[in-house]
Structures are given as C-alpha cells and as structure tokens.
Symmetry: C2
Subunit: 162 residues, 2 copies
Amino acid sequence: MKLSSGVEWALHCCVVLTAADRPVPAARLAELHDVSGTYLAKQLQGLSRAGLVRSVQGKSGGYVLTRAPEDITLLDIVEAVDGAQPTFLCTEIRQRGPLATPAEACTKPCPISRAMGVADRAWRAALRETTVADLARDVVADNGPTAFDGIRAWLTTPDSRN
Amino acid sequence: MKLSSGVEWALHCCVVLTAADRPVPAARLAELHDVSGTYLAKQLQGLSRAGLVRSVQGKSGGYVLTRAPEDITLLDIVEAVDGAQPTFLCTEIRQRGPLATPAEACTKPCPISRAMGVADRAWRAALRETTVADLARDVVADNGPTAFDGIRAWLTTPDSRN
C-alpha cells in the first residue's frame, strides 16, 4: 500500500506556500521542486478542490493557502490528493460462497473489516495530529531560522517568474 | 491509498484455517469464498513465503497455519500480501531544484517524511494489536458458538473436495 508521489509534492508545496508573501504560480512551484509541471498542476487542483489552496488570477496570480498553516493538517492534504476512501475495502466475502452468511444476519461490519477500520482510523488520527505549521516549524528547526528566506526571495523575484 | 483485495482474501483464509482440523486445498478455500482460485493461489503463496501458512503435499494436502492464531497478527498478513514497504516514499524533494538542500546537510529524514512515518507506524501498530485468534473470537461473538462448525465440516468433507 503506497501513497502516490503527488502526496509528497502537495505536502512540499503547502509548506513552501507558508513562506510566500504573494501568490505563487504552479510553474514556479514545479521549478522549485524540479518536478513535472503537468503532474503538479493536478495535485494543486486537488488541493484547490479540497479548499486548501486558492488560485488567484492575473499577472501576479498563482496559488495561496486559504487558511492558516495551523489549520491545515496532513490528513487534509493526503485526502485532497489521494481521496478519502478507506485503505481497506470490505467486499462482504462472508456473504459469498456455499456457506454465505445471509445478508439479514450481517447487521454489523465483518470482524475483519472492523479491525482493519481501527488501523485505518489510527493512521488518519496520526495524520490529523500534524499541521502544515508544524512541518514549517520543523524545517526551521532542522535548517535554522533563515530556512525559508531564500525560498521566499526566490518565489517572489518577479524577473525569474515563469 | 488502498490495500489490494488480496489482503481481504488472505485475512479470511487465515481465519477459516483456524477452524480446519486438516490441511485445506487452495481450491477449497477459493470455493468457500467464491473468489478466483488463480488469484487466491498468489495470496496463499505470499502467506507461505512469509511463513504464516505451510503447504502440505499429498492426497490430503493443502494449507495449514504454521503457528497459533494468537501469534499471527493482521500486520503479518498485510505485509505478507502487500509488502512491508512504508506507505509514504520520500524521494528527497528537498535535494532537488534551484534551492536544493545539499545532501551533506540532510543528516536526518525530511520533516515531511518523519511526520508521514509517524502515521505509518501508528497504522502498523494498530494492525499488530489484533491477531487471527481475535478475529476468530469476534466471528463467534457475532455469529454464535457454532459459527465455525459448518465451515469445519464443509472443509473436511472428503467427497466434496476439489
């Protein structure tokens, strides 16, 4: 079971957007991360549909976070890009085959589905514990208080914009 | 992010094998669950490679659990079928692009990778909490003390064997 690489890209973009003091074009985010602009555009559209980023139109247009980094969790981003469907899909195997449990006897989810659901919820709860603000803080803790200065300057240098 | 359907099938097979008092052929397990024998054979091979089941050869051959159901966790089965690779793969995006962090400065995993790793470990820890014995107990709790009697009888009726 593996998350798409789009999740990694989207997480990096959200952290970078905390440093920007103006909208950042999708192409600029792709260039900064050295990733495919086309594929990144899809992830940004996912973030946008989920209401985590907003596209500002115009000459100085681009993407901005729609809310404070404290209010965007890893789960928000993972679900925006990868969808919110559970990791385990129960296909009601117990209702199949020669010894099938009758549908009317299946008044609650199958024990296997329940146990897998517990694990799914533990994963999501952990993702909900960390926000984009936490990640940005960790970047500063790892790389020093000026960690975002170069990124901010680069993102907002007009003549290097795509 | 979604687990393969093989995980669901393998979980059901392991629970069913707790009820069997002799080896159960793969075809019989496929018939019981009304699933593709070819695809189920692959999952059983995965369980076998992971040392969770063992194939007994011969006329009355088939699969048996290699250890007590108390000693087989959901995580064992999930990793046997779906692999043990982490759900989040860090491709070191921080080391790419015009503002790349030099490799020598990356002395610990990226903050994003660390946070995603915490969630991955929470998921695995929850999967490790439940054993095949717990699942079998829950099946009895849901369906009554005779829940496995019909399955055991069906699995071990020689003339209905494939």
